[in-house]
């Protein structure tokens, strides 16, 4: 499972800095595809839910719906400090906080903006987590709580 981690990249309330870094990681300089990472835009195809930017009232149900449409095993990676806990915008009236306010997060990759090296590091760790989750799924572990 860790050899083929397909990613769904969603931008919550980001300034787009982290998004650009995520896209940069797919370019030839950093080349995420050599690890088998594919940026599919489809939750039904994805294993890793990569979220940048904070959660606000409008995108909270969206994030929940996308998460629910992903098949198990799945891993959530919060990329950038805004996704981890709200970042610079934590005190804003519309920001609810980081991604863990709506769905369970497995990996936090802080940074503002996150460096491609950190993103790659985070995705590699997420892939390992995928393997573990798959083992647990096979062993019939109870379903995790739905976010």
């Amino acid at each position: 499972m860790s050899k083929s981690p397909w990613v769904l990249h969603y931008d919550g309330s980001s300034c787009n800095g982290c998004d650009i870094e995520v896209l940069a990681s797919m370019t030839p300089v950093y080349d995420l595809e050599r690890f088998g990472v594919v940026n599919t835009g489809d939750p039904k195809h994805a294993d890793i839910f990569l979220i940048t930017g904070g959660i606000n009232a409008q995108n909270a149900p969206v994030v929940k719906q996308l998460y629910s449409q992903m098949p198990d095993p799945k891993v959530v990676v919060a990329v950038g400090i805004c996704a981890c806990d709200g970042g610079v915008f934590k005190e804003c009236y519309n920001i609810l906080g980081g991604v863990d306010k709506v769905i369970p997060v497995d990996l936090y990759v802080p940074g503002c903006a996150v460096k491609p090296e950190s993103i790659i590091d985070g995705l590699r760790k997420a892939a390992v987590l995928l393997d573990e989750k798959e083992k647990r799924m096979k062993a019939g572990a109870p379903a995790r709580k739905e976010g």
Partner: protein
């Protein structure tokens, strides 16, 4: 000889997924190198499909399983029929049936991306079907039979008499292999226009089946290209393999160079190439022979 046919079918059934997956891996590696990056390992497609079969099954409705199963079953069936030396036209018709099943699976999902992908898929099929039928007719005119066995048993390679048809086939194969500039209904990985088009609502083992069926189909398509080169002589075999690989590489190159076009351009160009290259070739053959 029945056991020979059975052996060929078994060989196809077992080897084609591996060959198809390898081709897919080579495609991704070559594309990556063309783009100046390292690219995934050549065995990556196998990891992908293995992963897909180990995911939870998520469906949008209860009809999908049957329809995707139909697509897979008939894709494999077509390949078996072709490699057993059967009737080429019937193989095409069976392949069309398989594609209609996939189309129905996409439509049944009642999702905007899926449906748009499905409509575009129909336009794609409409674009390449005339050329493939003409190609089968051209091969029939040259070899006197629609059976694949007879076509490869000729003294000379068919491509000598069918250069226009061969060119037309390679042209529409860009559509069949879902490559730019004609990948309007469901594109490979990083190239999306409508999420994943046809396969948007498929996941897990269903998606894995679609991938596998695609590999069987890829091997079938390359086998069809080989029909133009194979003849009774033993040297035609490496020549055919080289031709297939060269054409495949050419298609990958075209994929990396050209951007996607609109559906009407695709339809227009495909039909124009069919008429001009395929039609003229068949006309000349009909007049001369």
């Amino acid at each position: 000889m029945v056991w020979q046919t059975v052996l060929r079918i078994l060989l196809f059934l077992i080897c084609a997924p591996f060959a198809g997956g390898l081709l897919d891996g080579l495609d991704r590696k070559a594309s990556a190198r063309m783009q100046g990056r390292q690219g995934p390992p050549v065995l990556q497609p196998f990891y992908d499909v293995w992963k897909l079969f180990h995911k939870q099954t998520i469906v949008v409705n209860r009809l999908q399983d049957f329809l995707v199963g139909g697509y897979f079953a008939f894709s494999v069936f077509t390949g078996c029929l072709f490699f057993a030396g059967g009737d080429l036209l019937l193989s095409f018709f069976a392949l069309t049936l398989a594609e209609v099943f996939l189309f129905m699976a996409a439509c049944s999902a009642n999702s905007p991306y899926s449906s748009m992908g499905a409509q575009r898929e129909l336009i794609q099929i409409m674009s390449y079907e005339p050329m493939l039928l003409l190609a089968a007719i051209g091969l029939y005119m040259v070899s006197g039979s629609f059976f694949v066995d007879d076509m490869v048993g000729r003294g000379a390679s068919a491509i000598a008499l069918l250069p226009g048809v061969f060119f037309g086939v390679v042209f529409v194969f860009v559509i069949k292999f879902r490559k730019s500039p004609f990948d309007i209904s469901s594109s490979h990985h990083a190239h999306q226009e409508m999420v994943k088009g046809l396969t948007t609502e498929l996941s897990g083992s269903e998606l894995g089946l679609v991938e596998l069926a695609g590999w069987y189909e890829d091997v079938l398509l390359l086998g069809f290209l080989a029909l133009f080169v194979l003849n009774r002589g033993v040297w035609s075999i490496p020549a055919a393999v080289l031709t297939c690989l060269a054409c495949y590489f050419l298609i990958v190159l075209v994929d990396n160079v050209f951007p996607r076009v609109r559906w009407d351009k695709m339809l227009g160009w495909a039909w124009a190439v069919t008429l001009i290259f395929g039609g003229a070739n068949v006309l000349i053959l009909a007049l001369v022979r």
